[in-house]
């Protein structure tokens, strides 16, 4: 099993030596026929599920940056998602802006909101920070729930679909290509950021903020930067969600339960592991969908899974795989050096 993963990794590293974008293009091409396989293999419903999985990938990759890499416990991520969704929807409905204008504006506004959610992190840590961000996230939802202009209890309806010229993204299959492209670009960018000195700075802050500051890292700045980057992801996911057919938004999409689901994705997949976040998003979206009939028990099930994960597998699925791969490589290196000596 681990041998398979090391093989895949070696293959992709080899490709990236030829050109750094090559593995990504290959992955993109492999994902192109997916909606048709799902549609004719199972049913069209699963294309919609794949779309939602892509949205959750964007959300969980973004949350992983701030929580997994920078170590800031935030429970306000879903509020940022809501801000992105509502902003883009209202801009499109009230000002007739096309998606390609309303979404970037929504992403920028969400980024600014990310600064506000991130500000408590400069002074607070751990559970206290979680409480502060929880308050901010919930207040966004309540704001939406009580303001008629934001949809209130009826929700926002008739949000126009994105279109290029005459082509309208109004079916599940066509929308898949939009969200999947965004998800792949999102994952690529998060790799690019987290493998650079910025990513190392985030991890150093997670491990030890004092040692990080003495190592020359501007800790408050990088904490806020992590919040802003994750907010940009949430804003993009929100805008894509708002315009997704059937074009309907309701504040029930942004409750604390959704936040717990999102946290579960990151925890299950692996805190501080980008692929872990992606795996977690896919696994949890499928579980969430398949257990819909028992939705009263869903929070209970998710809560139990989360506790079990934190106790027995604190680094999630991705962490276990990564650990095994590192060990294997180290042992191989030792044997090699022994062989040569």
């Amino acid at each position: 099993m681990i041998g398979f993963f090391t093989g895949v990794e070696a293959f992709f590293t080899g490709l990236s030596r030829i050109h750094r974008l090559l593995p990504w293009i290959l992955a993109y091409l492999l994902l192109l026929p997916l909606p048709f396989l799902l549609k004719f293999g199972i049913s069209e419903y699963y294309v919609d599920l794949a779309n939602r999985a892509c949205l959750f990938i964007l959300l969980s990759v973004g949350l992983n940056i701030v929580k997994g890499f920078c170590g800031q416990v935030t429970v306000g991520h879903i509020g940022l998602y809501a801000i992105g969704a509502v902003t883009s929807a209202l801009l499109a409905i009230n000002y007739q802006l096309p998606f390609w204008v309303s979404a970037p504006i929504a992403i920028l506004i969400t980024g600014l909101a990310g600064i506000i959610v991130g500000l408590p992190s400069v002074r607070l840590e751990g559970a206290y920070l979680a409480l502060a961000t929880l308050g901010l996230g919930e207040s966004v939802r309540i704001m939406i729930a009580v303001t008629p202009a934001f949809g209130s209890s009826t929700g926002i309806m008739m949000i126009p679909e994105p279109k290029i010229g005459e082509f309208i993204f109004n079916s599940f299959e066509s929308y898949y290509y939009l969200v999947m492209t965004c998800a792949i670009i999102g994952i690529y960018l998060s790799f690019a950021i987290l493998r650079s000195s910025t990513g190392r700075a985030f991890q150093a802050i997670r491990e030890d903020a004092i040692a990080a500051s003495v190592a020359g890292i501007n800790v408050p700045f990088y904490k806020l930067l992590a919040f802003v980057i994750s907010a940009l992801y949430a804003g993009l996911a929100g805008a894509l969600f708002a315009h997704m057919p059937p074009g309907y938004l309701h504040h029930n999409n942004f409750t604390i339960i959704e936040m717990v689901t999102l946290l579960l994705m990151v925890v299950l997949g692996g805190i501080g592991n980008i692929w872990g976040g992606v795996i977690g998003a896919i696994v949890v979206t499928v579980i969430y969908d398949q257990t819909k009939d028992y939705y009263f028990y869903q929070p209970l099930i998710f809560g139990i899974i989360m506790v079990v994960m934190v106790v027995f597998m604190p680094h999630g699925i991705g962490g276990v795989v990564k650990q095994a791969m590192i060990k294997r490589k180290f042992i191989e290196n030792q044997e090699e050096s022994r062989g040569s000596a």
């Binding site: 000195s197 700075a201 991890q203 003495v214 930067l225």
Partner: protein
């Protein structure tokens, strides 16, 4: 020429005066010892110099002709002061290589947004940094562990790594907080040898806090002694060794001078 000069350096926590009017003068290129009983303010001194704590008003810390007493830690590191911690504070879940690369952070040749726009430039720069860091790890004897998480190293290796992280910051002044704590006497000698060769190789000025007096007496050119937050003596090892205030601080008033010399020699 003095590289670091403190004047009237004070720090109080509520009612506790951790440092009181400490004047220290550290020559460029020297190796300077800082000793004192537990609770005498040695670590506070390091924390104030490196910016972890802000000193009380009226304190002045001049480093390389810059007033640094009110700067945040990362600015102080950029100016060229780096330090190790008594409890190491390594980034345990990051690899050994990443640990030293974090140390290199303030010399990164690209901005925080370039990973998005100039991927290949960032990759090239990172590879160059990696080569440089591997070379340094080889010097410390840690190169074969470069891709292991720092948490899997032994105690002695962790001490070396924390030293490596401090060196990666390319400092002019290196503050070492009890580098020998928890090491066997043989390993301490080995470590001091490494520190001296690093000092030569990177042209450092070193300030070292150490409880093992033999080490301090043998390696340091000048020694400052703190007690209860005040400087009670400063001078060459010989001068400090025979200073009455120092002997009193360490052993109390009752012991005769002769006994004390024996203790120190042992």
């Amino acid at each position: 020429m003095a590289l670091l000069e403190t004047k009237g350096l004070s720090k109080s926590f509520g009612g506790v005066q951790a440092l009181q009017d400490v004047d220290v003068h550290i020559e460029e290129g020297s190796i300077h010892g800082l000793i004192g009983p537990n609770g005498s303010g040695k670590s506070t001194f390091f924390n104030v110099i490196s910016g972890v704590y802000r000193p009380d008003s009226g304190s002045s810390v001049l480093f390389d002709n810059h007033e640094i007493s009110q700067l945040p830690p990362h600015k102080i590191t950029e100016l060229g002061i780096s330090r190790t911690f008594q409890l190491l504070r390594l980034f345990l879940e990051m690899t050994v290589l990443e640990n030293v690369m974090v140390g290199y952070h303030c010399h990164t040749p690209y901005g925080f947004l370039s990973p998005i726009l100039q991927g290949s430039k960032v990759r090239e720069a990172d590879e160059k940094i990696q080569d440089e860091m591997i070379e340094m790890l080889q010097f410390l004897g840690l190169a074969s562990y470069a891709n292991l998480p720092a948490g899997e190293l032994s105690g002695g290796q962790r001490r070396l790594l924390s030293l490596g992280r401090a060196i990666a910051m390319k400092p002019k002044l290196l503050l070492l907080d009890e580098p020998g704590a928890g090491l066997s006497p043989v390993n301490v000698d080995h470590l001091m040898h490494t520190i001296l060769s690093l000092k030569e190789k990177y042209k450092l000025t070193v300030v070292v806090v150490e409880h093992i007096l033999k080490v301090v007496m043998n390696t340091c050119e000048r020694i400052t002694v703190l007690d209860h937050g005040q400087k009670i003596a400063e001078g060459s090892p010989e001068e400090v060794k025979n200073d009455h205030a120092v002997i009193e601080a360490y052993l109390g008033r009752e012991m005769a001078d002769e006994d004390i010399r024996q203790v120190i020699r042992a």
